[in-house]
């Protein structure tokens, strides 16, 4: 990450204020870390080395194969250490979504003698909701536990649901991908453990951002969200969990090595990154609330991811806002229905009962600078005002 860093102001370690320049054009400001982040430098170095040493099929018996297998085992060990489990409890999968679907199926199958019901929060990632739907389609049941206006799981409703006879497994994410609300996994885990219901924790948004949750039976993650390469997911199943699923298809050894190296780096840096990014998110939260009229900042203001903020602008078309921001060089995401392929509003925003149109999610990462954020909060009010004026909705 060299050239720009040389000009960084001393004392602003990690917060490079000079943007990388390619072909004389400043690179666009990327604010969609919740989808994927640029490759961590450690991942790139590990990938390079593993491409040289780990190209062979790890399942054969010759020397090159043994080298590849050794690298894969080392990657498992490093990733397991980063999330606090044993290497044999961890496997790599082709993606984070694959890990979630496999995890739900494995728990339900492993517990099929105890029941056929999956209990899950209403705001889980679509991969978990699709797995829940598959359970219903095959004759089982799924119970969706509501959240409040801030996106916090109703613990009373969760407790009642896991205590129902026939509950096979529960799934609660560590932090929400759309609004950043962090769930109290320790409490959720003890409510589940009391009645012997295994708990899947989808930690895709929190790995490398906040401390790794505890108390899970199965934990899943997605490498491209912590700075690893796309195409690697993580699936950890605690020894002793009733779990029955076929092994995932083999993952590229170099990609797994890069994923593990970057996970270790991201977990180690999480505290420092949170301390740097959290004030930038606070700046966006307060600037949006102050300078953009009729805006609703959504998600828990306290128990939240340090790098993510979501807000909805009244009377604004989310797609128009997304495109306007893109023209100004900001890459963000939206939960508004007009930006989804189904034209349905985000199930997360609906479950919270907050405005779904004019919705924007801004998520920061280790390459985000203060000046990126300054430029965003400076330009946003004018962009929103222009869209409202065009819709004749300026003074409503």
């Amino acid at each position: 990450m060299g050239t720009a860093g040389d000009q960084a102001v001393p004392g602003t370690a990690g917060a490079r204020d000079e943007k990388p320049v390619r072909n004389g054009q400043p690179t666009p400001t990327y604010f969609d870390a919740a989808s994927a982040v640029p490759l961590h430098p450690v991942a790139r170095a590990a990938l390079d080395a593993a491409l040289d040493d780990g190209w062979a099929d790890p399942a054969k018996l010759y020397a090159a194969s043994r080298r590849a297998n050794h690298l894969l085992e080392a990657a498992r060990g490093a990733a397991a250490e980063a999330i606090g489990c044993r290497p044999e409890e961890l496997t790599f999968t082709p993606s984070g979504a694959d890990a979630c679907q496999r995890a739900v199926a494995g728990l339900l199958r492993g517990r099929r003698r105890s029941g056929d019901t999956l209990v899950h929060s209403a705001v889980e990632h679509s991969s978990v909701l699709h797995a829940a739907q598959a359970q219903v389609d095959s004759g089982g049941r799924a119970v969706s536990v509501p959240v409040d206006r801030l996106g916090r799981l109703s613990l009373d409703a969760f407790e009642a649901a896991v205590r129902e006879p026939g509950t096979a497994a529960a799934a609660v994410m560590s932090a929400n991908h759309e609004v950043g609300t962090v769930q109290p996994i320790d409490l959720v885990a003890s409510l589940s453990a009391v009645v012997g219901v295994p708990l899947l924790v989808d930690a895709a948004q929190s790995l490398g951002r906040v401390s790794v949750p505890e108390g899970w039976s199965v934990l899943t993650g997605s490498a491209r969200k912590w700075g690893g390469p796309a195409g690697v997911g993580l699936l950890a199943v605690r020894a002793g969990t009733r779990y029955d699923a076929p092994a995932p298809p083999p993952v590229s050894v170099p990609l797994a090595v890069a994923a593990a190296a970057s996970l270790r780096a991201a977990v180690a840096e999480a505290g420092a990154q949170a301390a740097r990014l959290s004030p930038l998110i606070d700046r966006i939260r307060s600037a949006v609330a102050t300078n953009v009229p009729d805006v609703e900042v959504v998600g828990d203001p306290v128990h939240r991811l340090p790098n993510l903020v979501t807000f909805s602008c009244l009377y604004v078309d989310g797609e128009a806002l997304l495109h306007a921001l893109d023209r100004r060089g900001f890459a963000v995401s939206s939960g508004s229905s007009c930006t989804s392929s189904t034209l349905d509003p985000s199930h997360v925003l609906v479950a919270m009962g907050v405005l779904s149109h004019g919705n924007i999610r801004v998520s920061l990462h280790r390459d985000t600078t203060e000046s990126d954020v300054d430029r965003f909060v400076e330009e946003l009010p004018g962009i929103v005002a222009a869209i409202r004026a065009q819709a004749g909705a300026s003074r409503l």
Binding site: D294, E296, L314, Y315, V316, D317, S336, S337, C338, L343, D344, P345, L349, V350, G353, V354, L355, S356, H357, G358, A391, G392, A393, L396
Partner: protein, 111 residues
Amino acid sequence: MTTPDPAPPATDPPSPRSWGYRDETISDRDDLPKIAEKEEAPEVLDCRGQRCPLPVIALARRLPSLPVGAVLRVLADDPAAANDIPAWCRMRDHEYVGASDGPAYDVRRRH
């Protein structure tokens, strides 16, 4: 304007139609019997075929023209309306009365 109008117009003048929504009300329609009880016959704002945020913009434009306490029925088939109309009521401190088939959403002007 030298000729005096012999009688006041029977109905209110039509509202501006420049926003693309049909703002026909039940009282405009002569194919329906006039209903005396205002509570039973809310004003209707037809936003079918419009995508969010258009139904919410139409609601925000129309509601202030109604007396405080009156109910406006918004017809909207965009799935986001079911979420965004109650959310608008909460943000603007109006009363969300409820939904009915149509899909229709009733909003009472509170202030």
